[in-house]
Subunit: 211 residues, 2 copies
Amino acid sequence: MPLVFYDCKTAPSPRRARIILAEKNVPHELVEIDLRSGEQMGEAFRAINPGATVPALKLDDGTVLTDNAGIAVWLEAAYPDPPLMGTTPLEKADIATWQWKVEQEFGMGVASALRNSTPAMKGRALPGPHDYEQIPELAERGMKMIGHFLDKLDAHLESRDYIAANMLSVADITGFVFVDFAKVVGKRPTESHANIRRWHASLAQRPAFQL
Amino acid sequence: MPLVFYDCKTAPSPRRARIILAEKNVPHELVEIDLRSGEQMGEAFRAINPGATVPALKLDDGTVLTDNAGIAVWLEAAYPDPPLMGTTPLEKADIATWQWKVEQEFGMGVASALRNSTPAMKGRALPGPHDYEQIPELAERGMKMIGHFLDKLDAHLESRDYIAANMLSVADITGFVFVDFAKVVGKRPTESHANIRRWHASLAQRPAFQL
């Protein structure tokens, strides 16, 4: 039984897993779930992932992985070549550190800005089964976080081709996906972010990063 | 040159790294940084970690790791026995998934509740170099997140001795540290959380988990 990857072409979260699958050339069956029509809430998909989220990766023993943390680690262990989480202890640490910064300082900024301001997400300010009211001040804080992180990342990339460990890694993949997705809240790397723009343009040429 | 671990006995974040060091029996020199007196802001410590945070781990080549993500991954790679992040791909995925849930749903809840309400953290609602104003509604949201997560964790531990992969892992360590730390915002596992209390009591007997 091949791996089955449940994807949604328009969403940032499954895009992270999709790029890893492509960079590692992992054979898999692809199932597109249409989030815009609410297909993830339907009985068919909830039988696969009761949490009703993508990405989901069904393994050949029937186990379904349902978050990027688990999917990335599983793919790295099962398909180690090419490594995207480092080989030496120091590479692994540098990549984990930057993956964390990208997720906490940038991804959380974008999520805060979007989920606490979009009318369609009223009462749904956090993902998951519980409802949380939007907090407009948190959307503002998210915008500030994005600005601070882009400045920091640009300085970091001044002398680097990749975010961590001098190699293509999950940190680049996560960063690239969030840079693209930040457009939904009107944030793009500006002219003062020449290093980010060079890094982004270089990654965008890789087939795995194309939409 | 031995590893040097910069710790603070009273803080939750370095406690996570301290438990990993102890469970793996990693030889190291210990330097206590007194956060209460602001020692982390002093010149001596900022020469080691300009970010002025603990934990920090100085490696024998002089590299300093300054966050739990990097420290955990480095220790797992350099001192693989006993494994705390899994051995098989499936164990690794399960542990990464639960580590993420514990950090995002529980740790973030505690941090939101504390940092957005404590008078001493006015203007410092997020860690790091930038100042962010407190958002009282976010403190409330944090309290709700903690409650939801404790209920979920208790149900999850119903038939389990450990949080993930049927083995002691970083997910248990992180969860244990946050359960203890959640007391600062008045949240403790209640009588309805019998499974958490059994799991916590069992871990508390391990020397590495003792303060």
